[in-house]
Amino acid sequence: MNTVADLGGMMGFGPVRPEPEDERFHADWERRALALTLAAALPGGWTIDASRSARESLPPGEYLTSSYYAIWIKALERLLVGAGLVGADELAERRALRPGRPGPVLAASAVPGVLAKGSSADRPIDSTPRFAVGDRVRTRNVHLVGHTRLPRYARGKEGVVERVHGAHVLPDSNAHGAGEQPEWLYTVRFPGRELWGEAADPGLTVEIEAFESYLAGT
C-alpha cells in the first residue's frame, strides 16, 4: 500500500530536533503505551508485520499529526478490535463491558526472557539465492494494496547487491495472515543520483533491505 508512513524523500517537515540521551519518554502514558503494545501481542497473536501494517494504514492526516506512541496506541486499538479481543463499544465507553476470552498472557516473570530472546525473522529455506554480492539488480515498480517494505523512492531503481542475509519472513504475506513465506533477503545499494537525480549529493549512497521478490535482474 502506498501509505503516508512511507516518508523517504518527502519535504517540508522542517528541521530535526535533537534530544538528550536520557530523555526516553515525554509523558507517563508513553511508557504504558510501549508496554501495552508489547504485552498485548501475546494474547493478540498478531505478527510484528501486522502491527506495522495497522500503524501505517491509519488515515494519513491522523498519522502525520499523531506522536509516535499515539500512533502505536491507535494501531493497538485497531488490532484488538480486529482480533475480537476488545469491542469498539468498550473503547468508546472506555471500560470493559464483557469478560475477556481465555488465552495466553504475558506474565511479569516471563518478560526478561521474552525480551532477551527476541523474535528472529531468519528462517531456513530450500532454494539457493538468485543474486550474489556485486550483482546488478532492479527493484520492481509495484504498487501493492497490501503491506510491503519496498519504499516508493526505491522502486524501479537500479542498484547493486551489497549483502546476502539469508532467508527472512516476508512481511508482505505475514502482515495479512498469509504465512511467513520466507524469501532471500538482500541489502541493495543505490547511488544517490539513481534515486534523486542529477542534483543529488555525488557522495551519497542509500542502502535498503530488499526481499528477493522485490528484485529483478538487469
Binding site: E19, R32, E56, S66, R149, T187
Partner: protein, 193 residues
C-alpha cells in the same frame, strides 16, 4: 489529540485489557523498567569501545555483529540480526527507518523521538548533510555518506571514529565518550575540551 486525552485513553485501554485478563500490570512495569534502566545506549557504547581497543573483537563485530554483540551479553528483541558499519575518514554511515521506527534496541535502547519523526525519516535519505547540520555536524565535502534504510529485520549499529588524543585510554573511559547519536550516525565522538 492533546496530552491529557492521550493519558485518559491509554489509562482506559490498560484498565480494559487488565479487566478482561489480557494483560498483567506487573508485566508492564517490568517492560518499562527494562527499557528505562537496563537497555540503552551504554550497551552500544560498550561494544564500540571494545572494538576500539581490541582489533580481534573489531574484526568479529564487522564480520558477524549479532554474535560479537552477544559476546558482551547484549541481544534480543529488535536486535536479532545485527550489522555493524564503521565510519572512516572516507565514508560516514547514517541509519534510518523511513517506513516506521526500526532501531537496534539491545544496543541503543528505545529510539529517540526525532528518529521516529517525519522530519528525520523523510529527509535523511535525500539530504543527509542537511540533517547532520541540524545536529551541528559538518563533514568534509569529500566524505562519502552511506545511509542505511532499515526496511526489514536487519538492525544497524554505526561504529564511530575513535577520536584523536585517546591513545592509551581504557575501554571504560572510551565508552563514556560514545554518544547515542554517534552510533546512529548523527553525531561524532569528541574528546571534551
Amino acid at each position: 489529540m492533546d496530552e491529557k486525552d492521550m493519558t485518559l485513553r491509554v489509562e482506559a485501554l490498560e484498565s480494559i485489557l487488565v479487566e478482561k485478563g489480557y494483560v498483567e500490570p506487573a508485566a508492564l512495569d517490568v517492560i518499562i523498567e527494562t527499557y528505562e534502566k537496563d537497555v540503552g545506549p551504554r550497551n552500544g557504547a560498550h561494544v564500540v569501545a571494545r572494538s576500539w581497543v581490541d582489533p580481534a573483537y573489531r574484526e568479529r563485530l564487522l564480520t558477524d555483529a549479532t554474535a560479537a554483540i552477544a559476546e558482551l551479553g547484549y541481544g534480543g528483541r529488535q536486535g536479532e540480526h545485527m550489522v555493524a558499519v564503521e565510519n572512516t575518514a572516507d565514508e560516514h554511515h547514517l541509519v534510518v527507518c523511513t517506513l516506521c521506527s526500526c532501531y537496534p534496541w539491545p544496543v541503543l535502547g528505545l529510539p529517540p523521538t526525532w528518529y521516529k519523526s517525519p522530519a528525520y525519516r523523510s529527509r535523511v535519505v535525500i539530504d543527509p548533510r542537511g540533517v547532520l547540520a541540524d545536529f551541528g555536524v559538518t563533514l568534509p565535502t569529500d566524505t562519502r555518506i552511506t545511509v542505511h534504510d532499515s526496511t526489514a529485520e536487519v538492525r544497524y549499529l554505526v561504529v564511530p571514529r575513535r577520536p584523536e588524543g585517546t591513545d592509551g585510554w581504557d575501554e571504560g573511559s572510551l565508552a563514556a565518550l560514545v554518544s547515542r547519536d554517534s552510533m546512529i550516525g548523527t553525531g561524532l565522538v569528541e574528546v571534551p575540551a
